[in-house]
């Protein structure tokens, strides 16, 4: 035995459009299919129907009756999104669903007795769930698809056909409701069979012997038995929302206005499944035949509409489509938020959902490569680093005291390194020799990847006299204004300390490092590129 619910969205093209533009719900709106004056009316709101509009009217005819009519073309994107939303809303009640056609969904409701005492309550819950998605539906529940479909169309939703009562329920309906093939229909008409009940009363074996397999299936449906069982659908891996715009948009703000509503609907659907968006794909249809597609990777799954909209804004500002937009769709690749076991005695931790939304918001605020968890590079350059997604480990079970302070002197790294002009003097003595009040000793190296310094010719012994920012041209003025000013006489200097790595690569690092104390009070870490002989400051001890 099976029990099936049929969900039907009356006037589906109109309902799908009003889901995208809910502000039109109480106005005279009509949906037309086709182009120009040949477009035919397929659905209209109640105010429009009261004015006399009927399906099949052309747009001029409709305007003649209702000059203030709001006309909208049939939008496949809206209807597809609404159909997905309808199925997802139905699946919040039962997971086994079959998509029949636009605006019609069958649902297996057998086994819901523990949750719903009566089947009418199932129908009411389905109507409530779909209404929350902006789709008013009618629901019928029966043991066969046809009976459930007919019950859904009958007035007073939800309608429940009791088990075993399908044949009786269908009996008064005309035979055309079964949509038989023309040959079979004419045969039945010659037999004088006019209603489904009359067909059901015929002996099954006789119908089969005369009409074959087609007749047998029709006879079974007339008796309340489905020819095919319910075929559950596989849920799609992505969620998609979009619409065709009434007129092309050439600026960003109007697009974001309509895009926000679509993202709201997308977030609502994700929320219904307990999912969040990990990757958002933006697809735009451009005038006349262009396409624009971008993918936005999120640092953490989120369904925060504001964050998603900001990311879309940044993406479109950075890479504008370059042509008027006539349609769009957002596709969300879902993911589950990481779950964290909270500790009763340990330090408080962050809510995973809130953390994900925060990270996405920061990502939108600062841009890519600006938010994350720092990680050292497997190299010795001080400016090198990696940024990894921020996924803090769970907190310890108990509060623990902090580890003992190390009294370490930190150094700020200059990114990028600041070009310097260094006044030096070569000491008359060969290496090794002292500079100013310091001694040059190149034996020590910073990098384990360094080759033996002894293999190289000894660097010239230098005496550092003064240091200043390198003069710049006018084009660099803006960047230079952001750099710290480094200027002064060298009080004490220590070096050079050689750092050499990646000598096998195209961009090897070969530097002589110095620690210098300047008269401005700063203690800097500077280096000289061995190849170019240029000086840079790459950090300050602070």
């Amino acid at each position: 035995m099976t029990r099936l619910a049929c969900l039907v969205v009356p006037l589906f093209p109109l309902a799908a459009r009003l889901r995208s533009e809910p502000e039109l719900a109480h106005e005279a709106v009509a949906i037309f299919e086709g182009n120009g004056n040949t477009a035919r009316l397929v659905a209209a709101t109640r105010p429009a129907r009261r004015a006399g509009l009927k399906p099949g009217f052309t747009l001029p005819q409709a305007r003649l009756l209702l000059p203030k009519l709001t006309a909208r073309p049939r939008d496949a994107e809206c209807e597809r999104s609404a159909q997905e939303a309808l199925i997802e809303a139905a699946e919040t009640i039962s997971p086994r669903s079959e998509e029949a056609k636009d605006g019609v969904v069958y649902l297996d409701v057998l086994g819901l007795e523990r949750r719903f005492a009566r089947e009418v309550q199932i129908g009411a819950a389905l109507m409530e769930a779909t209404q929350a998605e902006g789709l008013p539906t009618k629901v019928g529940i029966a043991s066969s698809k046809l009976a459930a479909r007919v019950a859904a169309d009958s007035p007073g939703s939800p309608t429940v056909v009791p088990p075993g009562g399908e044949a009786e329920f269908l009996a008064p309906l005309p035979l055309a409701r079964l949509a038989p093939e023309a040959e079979v229909a004419s045969t039945l008409e010659r037999w004088g069979v006019r209603s489904i009940g009359e067909l059901a009363r015929l002996p099954s074996a006789e119908v089969t012997s005369r009409l074959g397999r087609t007749g047998s299936e029709l006879h079974g449906i007339a008796r309340g038995m489905d020819a095919q069982p319910l075929i559950p659908r596989q849920p799609p891996p992505t969620f998609r929302e979009g619409m065709t715009l009434e007129w092309p948009l050439v600026s960003l703000e109007p697009f974001l206005f309509v895009g926000r509503a679509a993202l709201d609907r997308l977030a609502h659907r994700l929320c219904g499944r307990g999912l969040a968006c990990r990757r958002l794909e933006v697809a735009l249809r451009l005038e006349p035949d262009g396409h624009y597609e971008r993918a936005i990777e999120l640092p953490a799954p989120t369904r925060d509409t504001k964050t998603l909209l900001t990311l879309v804004r940044l993406e479109l500002e950075a890479r504008p489509p370059g042509a008027p937009v006539v349609g769009f769709s957002f596709t969300a690749h879902p993911d589950r938020s990481p779950e964290t076991q909270l500790s009763l005695f340990g330090p408080a931790t962050l809510s995973p959902d809130r953390l994900a939304a925060t990270l996405a918001r920061l990502f939108a605020l600062l841009g890519p490569g600006r938010v994350g968890s720092p990680k050292p590079l497997d190299a010795h350059r001080p400016e090198g680093f990696q940024l990894e997604p921020y996924t803090p480990p769970p907190p310890p079970e108990f509060d623990s005291p902090p580890s003992r302070g190390r009294g370490l002197l930190g150094a700020r790294t200059f990114r990028p390194a600041i070009p310097l002009e260094v006044i030096t003097a070569h000491l008359p003595r060969p290496h090794p020799i002292a500079a100013a009040d310091t001694i040059c000793e190149p034996k020590a190296t910073y990098g384990s990847a360094s080759r033996e310094v002894a293999e190289k010719p000894p660097p010239p012994s230098l005496r550092l006299l003064s240091i200043a920012n390198q003069p710049h041209d006018s084009q660099e003025a803006e960047n230079v204004a952001k750099r710290p000013t480094i200027q002064g006489k060298v009080r004490v200097a220590s070096g050079p300390w050689n750092l050499e790595e990646e000598w096998w690569s195209e961009h090897p690092v070969d530097r002589d490092y110095w620690d210098v104390e300047l008269s401005d009070g700063g203690i800097y870490r500077i280096y000289q590129e061995r190849r170019s002989q240029e000086w840079f400051a790459d950090g300050i001890y602070d």
């Binding site: 005695f345 340990g346 330090p347 408080a348 962050l350 953390l355 925060t358 918001r361 605020l365 600062l366 600006r370 938010v371 994350g372 968890s373 720092p374 990680k375 050292p376 590079l377 001080p382 680093f385 996924t391 803090p392 480990p393 907190p395 310890p396 509060d399 623990s400 902090p402 580890s403 003992r404 302070g405 190390r406 009294g407 370490l408 002197l409 930190g410 150094a411 700020r412 790294t413 200059f414 003595r429 020799i433 009040d437 310091t438 000793e441 006299l465 952001k482 710290p484 006489k489 004490v492 620690d515 104390e517 401005d520 009070g521 700063g522 203690i523 950090g539 300050i540 001890y541 602070d542």
Partner: protein, 311 residues
Amino acid sequence: MIHAAEPQNALELPVGEPIPPAITVPRPALEISESRIPTASAIRKSLPEMLRKRVLSARRLSARPATQRWTTADPRLDRLLDGGIQRGTLLEMVGQRSSGRFSLLLAMLAAVTSSGHPAVLIDLGDGLDPRLAAQAGIDLARLLWLRPRRMREALAGAETVLTSGFPLVALDLGSPPVPGGRGAEASWLRLARTARDRDAALLVSAPYRVSGTTATTVVMPKMSRPLWSEHRSGSPPPPRRFTGLRIEWEVQKRRGQSPGDRESWTLTTAAVVNAVDGGETTTARPAPVVPAPVRQVSEVPAALQSWRKTG
């Protein structure tokens, strides 16, 4: 003729109507059986020890609980901060170049993250070296690093992370010139209030005062002196090395208390710490360093002169 407006609120009296006398409800005598107090304490005793302190008696409910402090595991820094990093407040550290300001910030981040708390570093100067941060004891997995380019982004980021529940947010403005200047005072006020409402500690490290009157505590360096290894004889003489900073910091402002507390300590470079550790990065203690006198460039050290003569 002017008519008095009808009261919109049902509780509002019409104009000219005498105010009725206040209704006084006789308060019943407080009847608390003293015999029940031991029962409450017995319940408290039955709880695990870690939970006992969190259960307050009804008499103490009106009293605002003292704000929690994180110890920095550095006795001198704790003394300077009157017990540690105070939650719910804004602590501003002001210092010019090479004053040890960044090192103190790293030490505080290390203390908080090593005890299992998440923390945020908003690095406007983009000066964090992750390797050095790990050596300073920061649990990098618990540290969220933000690299804003402008002050406006830094302030907006700080507000976002404070609102989301991070217990410690460190905002480092880097070396001057700070992109964006001091920021609007209203922004600092909003940040301080958010930190108070969320019971989070907001550390601001800046080259000059930025937060105006909103900071609960302001600390500044009183002295900063670089330390260089001593001259030693030899042929050739071994190199002198920069070994650290001797710093002294002073409390310039502490809300509700008198300022003026000072603490001084020595910060040691990573090279020296690693040399002492033997390459390990776990239990390092700074080596005792004898400061060398600072000499002008024009001076030629005696050791060098003698070396030249002999060479």
